[in-house]
Symmetry: C2
Subunit: 334 residues, 2 copies
């Protein structure tokens, strides 16, 4: 890793040592502009010998770039695998293209933290995780003309967005239950302010339409966020004859499972339960819960590639389309 204790060389040092100009060294380093093969080789060799790495900050100042990308997490984002996987994918790709990732978490509603990042010239672009309806963040970034991509669906055509196939996957998961003969499916989800809630709901409805069954709209519950609400919703659904529960994510599913257990309802004997997002908790539950598994890390990678392309990097996206798996487990056994 490090050769010697290591003086930190600058481009000026190299130029001096090699008896050429800084310009030449710079060109040899960047590979831009014509340069003698011998000169290039001498520079290359020096770099290698002394383990030289350019000062990216200085480079950035000269080029008006930072080689940093910001990732913004939503206000009060929950501790779910989604964000970590996303972040891992983004970092992986950024790293590969020599960019670094700066995180910014909202502490309160508003854009102050993002604002600072932008105003301070700390990033070249931003990746916004989890789209929110009517987002202040998006509005701010547009105003400031900061390039950005959004993870999540978007109805704004000016915005570059990318998402897991929540709707299609939701449709397939719902279809599965319908094909098992269930007819009173309850759907439990979180905030209507999140686009993802809408996508999942659409998937649920699509499946019903497809099979010519009318979805019971009274069995669709959103804005469910805590134990109390879950409990109420589960009770309501049950007394309205629900024979299956489709939970929009693993957190809600856990809550629902807790309620069902307390009420002495057996799964899958009495009702089936599925989650629209997989996790270890779903996998190791008793019974293990049938869930949708997305390639969220791949999603992060794709979002990052898109961002890099917007910044003029030659970042080809050679990966396959984002897909998902429907993981069948005991919670839907018949």
């Amino acid at each position: 890793m490090s050769e010697k204790e290591g003086k930190i060389y600058t481009i000026t040092d190299i130029a001096k040592e090699l008896g050429v100009s800084k310009t030449t060294v710079s060109r040899a380093l960047s590979g831009k502009g014509r340069i003698g093969t011998e000169t290039a080789e001498r520079v290359r060799s020096f770099v290698e010998r002394h383990n030289y790495t350019p000062n990216v900050v200085a480079k950035g100042l000269a080029q008006n770039k930072t080689y940093n990308l910001g990732i913004v997490f939503p206000f009060d984002y929950p501790d779910i695998p989604f964000f970590k996987e996303c972040m891992d994918g983004i970092c992986e790709t950024a790293y590969h293209y020599n960019y670094d990732i700066i995180i910014s978490v909202h502490w309160k509603e508003g854009v102050s933290q993002i604002q600072r990042l932008v105003m301070n010239h700390k990033v070249d672009g931003m990746i916004v995780t989890r789209a929110v309806i009517n987002s202040q963040v998006v509005r701010f970034l547009k105003e400031r003309r900061m390039p950005f991509v959004v993870i999540g669906p978007s109805d704004d055509l000016e915005v570059s967005s990318i998402d897991n196939p929540n709707r299609e996957a939701g449709r397939e998961l719902t279809s599965l239950l319908l094909m098992k003969g269930l007819r009173r499916l309850a759907l439990i989800g979180g905030s209507d302010m999140h686009y993802v809630t809408e996508s999942r709901k659409q998937g649920f409805i699509d499946a019903h339409l497809e099979q010519g069954i009318t979805a019971a709209s009274e069995l669709i519950y959103t804005e469910v966020s805590d134990y109390r609400k879950t409990r109420r919703v589960v009770e309501q659904a049950l007394s309205a004859g629900a024979d299956g529960f489709i939970c929009m994510d693993e957190t809600i599913c856990n809550l629902a499972l807790g309620c069902l257990r307390e009420m002495g309802i057996r799964i899958p004997a009495d009702v089936k339960v599925v989650s629209m997002y997989d996790s270890h908790q779903m996998e190791f539950n008793l019974p293990p819960v049938t869930s949708l598994r997305f390639d969220t890390r791949g999603l992060g990678r794709k979002a990052c590639l898109e961002m890099l392309r917007m910044l003029g990097e030659n970042a080809e996206d050679e990966e396959a389309e984002l897909s998902y798996e429907l993981v069948l487990r005991d919670s839907t056994k018949t």
Copy 2:
């Protein structure tokens, strides 16, 4: 947030507009050096009117600083609340002192990603989450003389480290079970390469010593990472007469609970189960699991403050000592 569409002003623009020198503007901005109150006021007012923010990158170049801190996550770090909470705490504090956080995740063993961050002059210091015994990362950072703080215990006196009170808390949790009359406590933990494993084990032993009971060393299991190993360990412990299970973290606890359920063991009737780290999973389990709740976010804040102090910032730590709670739940009911 943004006044007008907004030309981006530089210190030179301001100097020109105000008919003073860049030097003066710079001084007014930083508050260093004597300056006329009237001049200072004019600058202040301009800044406010035009929503000027200095280019931190340029500032950094001139001062040989970046106002970025790196946070390093361990190789293949698991998706547990600990890291998110830590990160949130760090970000919160960094933000407050006008620093930003760059993340770096190991993709493979080795230091390549961290190396790049350091060599590229992208950060002023690093916060290493979760100390590992004989860490390459620590060795590299020391060699490079990059300031850093480690989250986790450390036996290296040259290293600044800070940690949750895992040992004391572990002792208290173990004592609780001993006082309930349990005498065959099994301890299940992860990798011995993590310092935290050692701390927790020590706490377990401390409690036994304190009460004059000998801990059954054959009931101490580490290196437990997957379902299979957990299953084997749980069976062994049970046949060795274990009457309580102390799991070092929530992931292991979940695994253990799964095994116990499958084997038809009732909790808390047959055996008690506790976790040395709390989480929603522990809280919403059936039964809910008695756990230790740490202020990991506070830990992140403290680590960040320490880092800032090392960098010469006036970052006073006014927070209370890191503490923890022992949350009693049904899994230990008698």
